[in-house]
Symmetry: C2
Subunit: 246 residues, 2 copies
DNA sequence: CCAAAAGTGTTGAAGTTACACCCATGC
DNA sequence: GCATGGGTGTAACTTCAACACTTTTGG
């Protein structure tokens, strides 16, 4: 029987890409609406207390799995959040009382984020999550606790990382078009990027290889497929690149 | 009477600059050497458990003050470290038993760093610190716990921040020479920088103002003094600048 | 006059931005 | 034949790295 650490939690900001928009995985933890005497939805990031003997990185994976069923997702830490007031809103308190043995304890949370192919990960709610859903980042409304702040920070961290390491190249199928890759960058940075300049830069990185194959069945000039140069990818993951700006 | 949170600590990486080299503030927490039956020095970062009702940022300031007497130092978080094994070396355990009421508890620590004028802050050891000293970063030996790792991370974070915000400009006297500023950057990045290119870049930032005054009594061509343009400084602190590389 | 650090400009290479038209395909 | 997205090149500009000599002062 594992002991929970009553003072330390982990919140996971999982970003997903569906070839269109950037999404974030949220759970519905439920909220009681005293005016209408019923439960209404209250979205939150998947997060929970860690176990006493758990590594933080392990804990992040375990928490995500417990709440959404998703496994083997490498996540990166982006900060610790410890405002003692962050759990004190009335509805947050009411909720905590319903699921925690020590609801009054002050909890510091460690934030983790990752970026995955949305369609590879179909979340299945479990534990106290009533549902787990992908929500477009631009449409996220008010979240529980201080989770809007965490989401902002995670997104900054993601953008930052994208400038130094080739994260995100594993979000696409083995064969992809440069436009798909561009859309990924546009979704994350939330702005348009010049097509020609984007291609030049990506190709100069040497991280993609042109294939002979082309799209079929599209109602326009078929796009050429590319694949990742795995060696070069590993190399850049290690070394990083300084300031890949778009 | 304040309650300590047995699971969360803060470690402070305080960098200091003396117009020559980058230093880091360490405390001597003492260590018992069973072969020689006496205490030997064992350096560590200043750090301790936080109080239950303390903000993390406040806690960082308080911990630093308790151990070294230094006050009002704004610090920035650079990560959380939670390897359950990080406190498990024999000497670390022995030491923990000597000062903590729950020495076996697993502790997650939050790292904070800052950068100050070394000569403005003369540390005075207190609490369990037997002494508090400035040590050149290049000469730091083996530290307690996982503190060498924290120091590395803090230094990376400092360098990173230096590329985005004009931190470090408050480390110099109101009137300073560009060579002094350059030496600061060289110390932090631990490499030489071309004088002409450095000056050009700093001046283009618009953050310094040339004064009429010059050095006196130096056995070489006297250097011109500069001061900070406070407005421009504030502006850049807010906006940041993208990628100020040297 | 010597030592020491200050101060100053140019050039070539690389990178950045902005911008418009033709192409291949399905319907 | 038309709508759709694919694909391509250039010119102006900015940034960057590398590099050597003269100046001013104290001793």
């Amino acid at each position: 029987m594992k002991r929970l650490n009553p003072h330390i939690s982990i919140d996971c900001v999982l970003f997903g890409f569906d070839f269109e928009n950037l999404h974030v995985l949220l759970i519905d933890r439920g909220r009681y609406d005293s005016d209408f005497k019923n439960e209404i939805v209250q979205y939150a990031l998947p997060g929970d207390l860690i176990y006493m003997d758990e590594q933080l990185d392990e804990g992040a994976q375990r928490v995500l799995k417990d709440l959404t069923g998703l496994q083997n997702i490498f996540m990166e830490q982006f900060g610790a959040f410890g405002d003692p007031g962050r759990l004190s809103s009335e509805s947050d308190q009411r909720w905590l009382k319903s699921i925690r043995s020590e609801p009054e304890e002050r909890v510091v949370t460690i934030g983790y984020y990752s970026l995955v192919k949305m369609h590879d990960y179909i979340p299945v709610a479990s534990s106290f999550a009533r549902s787990a859903v992908w929500v477009p980042v631009n449409e996220v409304a008010e979240l529980a606790f201080d989770h809007n702040i965490l989401l902002d920070k995670a997104l900054s961290a993601l953008r930052q990382t994208l400038q130094t390491r080739p994260i995100g190249f594993n979000l696409l199928p083995p064969k992809f078009t440069l436009s798909q890759l561009q859309r990924l960058y546009e979704a994350i940075h939330n702005r348009d990027i010049d097509k020609r300049n984007f291609r030049r830069k990506i190709i100069k990185l040497g991280i993609v290889t042109e294939l002979a194959e082309k799209q079929e069945g599209v109602a326009h000039k078929p796009a050429r497929f590319f694949s990742f140069d795995k060696d070069r990818y590993e190399e850049l993951l290690q070394e990083g690149f300084e300031n890949f700006k778009l």
